[in-house]
Symmetry: C2
Subunit: 353 residues, 2 copies
């Protein structure tokens, strides 16, 4: 077995003990609420890791793009999927129906009548029902109907359209108090309208800390928890010791006392910042953070770090956003006790269609 030191840098590694612990802890957390765990594969993009999540008790998987679902359905590990994306156009809805025919359930979302009508037409073309959730925007400002009333209107259309099997509502992410307010009102409206909501699907790793605040949810979709990252530590849902994904990088330059340069740039770490002020942390140099990125260079600010790495030294970077790091790399190495136990191809890397 290869030792971790033998990996050429930059290399993305997953600490297998932490991975296992993260999977088990979140499974317990979600099952403890009596709801279904439906992890999002976007974080790892690796069927073998989804298999671990399913073995731990996950009920099904979440994918975002058809091409991701194709990879996972090809792997034959699960027969219950939710595709949290508006699928539009005959080419894509045909692919959706072909995929759906291969599993027990492939549900999909819609937030407007054009997408919903297209799904209905695809169902008619292929002679099978399409399970649909209505996506709700409870303040995140991405996709989703803007009010409980609009959710009901779209659900009424779903109920009327041929070959649509209306299943319920979906949101990302759960945030307090807006998601609660939205769903409390929506549930009352749907009850009055006599439309059942067998599925109410919430999502997001930060929301894992407050699942009890969303008693209307029947399932939860989280992705990032499997690896964790600087964002998750900042959001309070993970500690540094829960960060399973790290980038091993070599110090290639020390141009000045306060500056180190690593061989992992935005082509490995991505420029994702969201609410973090820097681009990643050095695991073993507290205070050191990546202050700037070029495509092949990470600039480390050592001002706040007493210890300082040397040229040629290999350091471990905890990235801001582990999901996007997965997408930058063709393979990821699973390590334990300093040994590379397994190298996984990131099978669903770059699947954007």
């Amino acid at each position: 077995m290869m030792r971790i030191e033998e990996l050429d840098t930059p290399a993305v590694v997953v600490l297998l003990d932490r991975l296992k612990r993260n999977i088990e802890r979140v499974q317990r957390l979600i099952a403890g609420q009596g709801i279904a765990n439906r992890p999002h594969i976007k974080t790892h993009k690796i069927p073998a890791i989804a298999r671990m999540q399913l073995d731990a008790g996950a009920q099904g998987l979440t994918c975002q793009k058809l091409s991701e679902a194709e990879v996972f359905i090809d792997a034959g590990i699960c027969d219950d999927y939710l595709l949290t994306y508006n699928i539009i156009g005959e080419r894509k809805t045909d692919r959706l129906m072909q995929l759906a025919a291969r599993v027990k359930r492939l549900a999909v979302v819609a937030d407007n009548d054009i997408v919903l009508t297209g799904l209905s037409q695809a169902g008619v073309r292929h002679g099978s029902d399409v399970p649909v959730l209505v996506e709700c925007d409870t303040g995140f400002g991405r996709n989703g109907v803007q009010s409980p009333e609009a959710a009901l209107d779209l659900a009424r259309l779903a109920v009327k359209l041929p070959r649509i099997r209306f299943e319920g509502l979906m949101v990302f992410p759960n945030t307090a108090p807006r998601t609660q307010d939205f769903f409390v009102r929506a549930l009352a409206l749907f009850r009055d309208a006599g439309i059942a909501l067998p599925v109410v699907s919430g999502g997001g790793t930060p929301a894992l800390n407050r699942l009890a605040d969303f008693p209307m949810m029947t399932e939860h979709r989280a992705g990032t928890y499997v690896y964790n990252d600087v964002m998750m530590v900042h959001s309070g849902v993970a500690s540094w010791e829960d960060c399973a994904l790290q980038v091993r990088a070599t110090v290639v330059s020390r141009p000045s006392p306060d500056r180190a340069v690593l061989d992992c740039g935005s082509k490995v770490l991505t420029s994702d910042q969201y609410y973090v002020e820097h681009y990643g942390r050095l695991a073993h140099y507290p205070g050191a953070h990546i202050s700037a990125l070029s495509e092949e260079h990470a600039i480390v600010d050592l001002t706040q770090s007493a210890a300082r790495p040397k040229i040629g030294e290999v350091v471990d970077v905890i990235p801001n956003h582990c999901c996007s790091v997965s997408n930058m790399n063709d393979e990821i190495h699973g390590v334990r006790d300093g040994l590379v136990e397994i190298t996984w191809p990131v099978a669903a890397r770059g699947k954007v269609r």
Copy 2:
């Protein structure tokens, strides 16, 4: 031949007429200064496009990582390379020497004695000289010696070390007045020390506007000019009509009057912002810009746009940073007059080692 409308989205296209015009204009600009054009392949990562640059008159190519150089040297299109990266460790310096043996010249940079000594040892191991430029930091804050005096010190070491062939100095990017000041002083120091500088290598697309301000340069390395992007338009070196790379994306949602959502997220566009305040522009909707990105969603702010795209419509996005978009996609489509003339694999995508 496929029509552009038949491409599934998201799809990255290159407008071939603009590509050709960009290549020819910059070749004229650099040749007009009597210096060598050594384009950086990082923008396109495609040997066929490098071939166009060489056919137009480029003297050689610039790569950043060994794995990029491997792809281009395998393609057999050029025998004069500059690798603008500190290559460190025996595994990598051995690869460097193996590559160097396959071309007339493969020069490399160094900004510290550890890297330089490693290159010398590799030259001794493989029995051949290593052409080296000393990288200078004239204010960018990335790699590079911090002063002309430090450049001379490192050059003295280079001259002394076995198997190192000291060739000159390198900087990225050329900025006024700091790069001029640094190089004016450096040239005087080197002249006094009796050390020749056959190569003084500048770089950057924004610097193309002011090549005459850097008369000490013997060559220029630019990458982004081949496609251009929002950053280059903002920097004044290109117009919107010079932007050859565009992302075709479908409007999948219109959650509110001021918001459209596209199916190209950060997995296509990347989160690169640098000095731009948004994440990309819509070519045919002046005023519309991408205000936020998730991995699979681009949020378009339509507040400033009178015309507004419909759900299902395909729009053309001009990305902030075209180089990083190249790195996100396995293939790019060359289009002219609405037809897909060619589909290129992005051969050096993801080459980070």
